[in-house]
């Protein structure tokens, strides 16, 4: 493939491809990703629809928060078993709302460590500045000048986080 045929304008996802240069030699070139450049909107549509549907199921109590986070982070039951060290049988139980309600805090903490979320967010739907770094649907800067933003920060106590509204100066 020639260098010019591989050039894609996609600044937010760069890749290195090997291609034929003008002098006939082969070498690396940095360019945009074809998949991201062409199909990112489709990807966001699919993942966005999927997350919305899951959120509705979570709100109506059909699935447990563990199932919700497992699915949006693309993990399977066996991977979650391996990562948390909790048996497959117990993970399956925690995926149901009834099983979730019986869980101990220490077990829940093992899940939140893997999902990279504060423990408190297993019981509340909150969209913070920090979450945007992890939100699958987040695509860019959001103007916070009118609404302010919610921020969560850690404390020395691993079970407690501080949630506060940050006022913007704009």
């Amino acid at each position: 493939m020639k260098e010019k045929d591989l050039e894609i304008d996609c600044p937010h996802h760069q890749v290195v491809l090997y291609a034929e240069k003008g002098d006939g030699s082969y070498g690396p070139m940095q360019t945009g990703s074809y998949m991201t450049g062409v199909n990112i909107s489709e990807h966001f549509r699919i993942t966005g629809n999927h997350s919305k549907a899951l959120l509705e199921q979570l709100k109506s109590g059909k699935i447990s928060p563990v199932y919700y986070f497992m699915t949006i982070e693309g993990l399977t039951i066996s991977e979650l078993t391996g990562r948390t060290g909790i048996s497959k049988f117990r993970v399956k139980r925690h995926l149901t709302p009834a099983g979730f309600r019986k869980m101990r805090i220490a077990t829940l903490k093992r899940y939140t460590d893997i999902f990279n979320i504060p423990l408190a967010n297993m019981f509340q739907l909150i969209n913070t500045i920090e979450d945007r770094n992890w939100d699958i649907g987040y695509q860019g800067e959001i103007d916070d000048s009118k609404t302010g933003s919610i921020s969560q920060s850690k404390t020395d106590n691993p079970l407690i986080i501080v949630t506060e509204v940050i006022k913007t100066s704009k």
Partner: protein, 329 residues
């Protein structure tokens, strides 16, 4: 930046140690080109790979060039962190295996849980680590907690704090022998493994099984995502394009110069064309996924393209093996 995380980290570490070597050369000497189509009863959906097993590039490269790497795994995260810090304080960059998901210098939509991502840690300042990642255009920063989580993620192919760095880079490497061994290894992997899902046989299996994929799907969105992933695995997930075939073509062009073998120049051109063919597979898959036409006929079209790649690669690697045998005479 580099095309692939494992070859990229090895190349960066070797360059740091004064060995002037390129990424395609590391990939080619290690015989990294491969194909595998895997579906076991435990897997929800089939998967395929276009390169050798993670870690194989380092071990094969080391075997064939005499470069010695120190490799370490840990049970204790604190010990792993301390030893990493000690090495960084001695100005020794270190490659570590991490779960890609925790490398939060990438945007969220880009990150997935994959335990076999390699990055080079080049320095630290307090709780901040400086990372050279093959897929990130600049030197990135990651905090201590995220790095530890990434290094000690559990699950399939868990990193277990794995890290490596070169300790002995020979002054004179027999590059000719290493290249020949690398090519022989690649031809063996692509043609001679007597299992129906590996090498060229694996490409053929993929070609015949792709029409069965809808039966593993939960819904249309899920299936579209899986078909898109063919393109992602071939083009975007650190392959250098065309499922590592462009990278291998670059290796063959460099190898031709080292071995002074004009036959390899022609073969490198041919490999570039095979890579173009893999790109056709990528584009066809992206089109099918976007149009959401998952009829048997459309999937069979992708299967036909794959069969052509299998035929081309079978002929290519047979002749490449002969070229090396004749070169020795």
């Amino acid at each position: 930046m580099a095309a692939h995380c494992e070859t990229g980290t090895i190349t960066a570490l070797l360059n740091h140690h004064g060995l002037n070597i390129t990424e395609p050369m590391v990939f080619g000497i290690a015989g990294g080109i491969f194909f595998a189509y895997i579906k076991t009863p435990l897997m929800d959906f089939p998967m395929f790979a276009v390169r050798s097993m993670p870690g194989n590039v380092r071990t094969k490269f080391s075997e064939r060039t005499g470069v010695k790497f120190i490799t370490k795994k840990y049970r204790n995260p604190e010990k792993a962190e301390k030893e990493l810090n000690d090495l960084l304080d001695k100005n020794q960059p270190v490659a570590v295996q991490v779960d890609f998901f925790y490398m939060n210098y990438f945007p969220a939509w880009y990150r997935i849980h994959v335990n076999v991502h390699f990055v080079t840690v080049i320095g630290r300042e307090g709780d901040k680590y400086f990372i050279s990642d093959s897929y990130h255009p600049q030197i990135a920063e990651v905090d201590r907690e995220a790095l530890t989580k990434g290094r000690f993620a559990g699950g399939d192919m868990a990193p277990k704090g794995f890290m490596f760095y070169p300790v002995n880079v020979p002054e004179k490497i027999d590059l000719e022998k290493a290249i020949k061994d690398g090519i022989k290894g690649a031809t063996r992997n692509m043609l001679k493994i007597p299992l129906p899902f590996l090498g060229v046989r694996g490409i053929r299996r993929f070609a015949s099984k792709i029409v069965d994929w809808p039966k593993y799907s939960k819904d249309e969105d899920f299936f579209a995502d899986k078909v898109f992933k063919i393109t992602i695995f071939l083009e975007d997930q650190g392959t250098g394009g065309g499922g590592f075939r462009f990278l291998y073509a670059s290796f063959l062009q460099e190898a031709a110069k080292v071995l002074d073998n004009p036959g390899l120049v022609e073969m490198s051109k041919e490999m570039m064309k095979i890579g173009d063919g893999w790109r056709e597979v990528s584009l066809a898959s992206a089109k099918v996924a976007k149009q959401r036409d998952f009829s048997k006929e459309r999937l069979a079209e992708i299967g036909d393209l794959l069969r052509q790649r299998a035929d081309e690669e079978e002929s290519f690697f047979t002749r490449l093996g002969k070229e090396m045998t004749n070169h020795n005479k």
